[in-house]
């Protein structure tokens, strides 16, 4: 059973002001759409892009809806569905892979009861959220921490040279 909370259908006043201010600030600067989407997602507590805000963004800037949807589903950073309160991110970079990060990923999945088919999102993104919305498990191609391989990040706190036991303890605290 995947995590599917009810989503707001319309746009609050406050969101609209935030969007207007953001759009005017970023108007025809390079990377405008990326920056705007990044700010929207960062502001959202569940770190996702609510549909009403995307619709408003399309109408307000004239960027076709199809292009916005293409961008949102192309880049791994953006989420269309709310993410868990906590995130556990396993690095799948080369150094981490050679030092066994695949086993870390499997052990976290096992611990949180996430099965293989839980992963959704575009073909490459391996993100899965526990049914109660507590923890999202994601992978990233490389943290740039290769000297500490294998690396895991729990809520923006980087763990270097992590083994299964240490990771299980960290995750344990999250779900308690």
């Amino acid at each position: 059973m995947t995590f599917a909370p009810s989503l707001p259908a319309h746009l609050s006043r406050e969101d609209q002001e935030f969007l207007d201010q953001l759009i005017s600030e970023q108007q025809d600067r390079p990377g405008m759409l990326l920056t705007v989407l990044e700010r929207i997602q960062e502001r959202q507590p569940e770190k996702y892009l609510p549909a009403p805000m995307l619709d408003y963004l399309a109408r307000r800037t004239g960027i076709p809806e199809s292009r916005i949807y293409n961008v949102v589903t192309f880049y791994a950073l953006f989420n269309l569905k709310p993410q868990g309160r906590h995130t556990v991110c396993i690095c799948r970079g080369t150094a981490c892979h050679t030092r066994g990060s695949m086993r870390l990923l499997e052990s976290v999945r096992l611990q949180l009861g996430l099965r293989e088919d839980e992963d959704e999102g575009s073909a490459d993104k391996l993100t899965a959220t526990t049914p109660d919305g507590a923890v999202t498990v994601r992978t990233v191609a490389c943290f740039g921490q290769c000297a500490l391989a294998p690396v895991a990040e729990v809520d923006h706190h980087v763990l270097g040279h992590v083994n299964e036991r240490a990771l299980q303890r960290e995750v344990e605290q999250l779900i308690r």
């Binding site: 399309a58 076709p64 809806e65 199809s66 949807y69 293409n70 589903t73 192309f74 575009s122 490459d124």
Partner: protein, 241 residues
Amino acid sequence: MPNRISIRIDGELVQAERGQTIFEAAQSNNKFIPGLCQFKGLSTVGACRLCVVEVQGVNRLLPSCTTPAQDGMAVITKSARLNDYRRQSLELLFAEKNHVCAVCVSNNHCELQAYAQRLGVTNVRYAYRYPKLHVDMSHPRFVIDHNRCVLCTRCVRVCNEVEGAYVWGVAGRGIGSRIACEMDRAWGNSASCTNCGKCVQVCPTGALAEKGFAAEEMVKRQDLVERLATIRGTMNPGGPR
């Protein structure tokens, strides 16, 4: 600068206009080069890679649909390597989706099917993926069947460049890429679609089709005889004349 240039295709000297791509030059001299995503009147994207040719002096294969023809160029459009690579490319397309030609609306009217025969593809060496893909029938007049889509993006380009409605786009990434209507909305309740049907006309395969033309959808007008008979007052009360 004279606008007529001469290039050599498969050894034969031919004429071409400056600014033409190799593909156009070959086509105007009816030299066959396969091409799925190429479409006259639309921008070129170089996505299907079927039109790739060898150019003397260049160690890489070049897409003829985007490479401008230059004076004195020597182009090879047919070689064992090219034919093998093109066959592999076609087989990858067949294995990627569910191309069940026998029951397809475009059976015998499909460029993929035609190229397969012309380039000698009699079977697909790669494992079929059998993906679970959606068929969107929500539009009153048209249907989009993702099982038959080869992602050539002709529909995206004709909708953006010619119609200007920007309905279609390529969503997702990599093997998960798919044609999507606006914010992944059903085609039937699209906000900007003008129902012009251009995308259906340019689609090389059975992915985009017009409803009512598939054999299975045939509806015979059974009421015809009765109506004529009543108009002509020659309705036969039934039983032998």
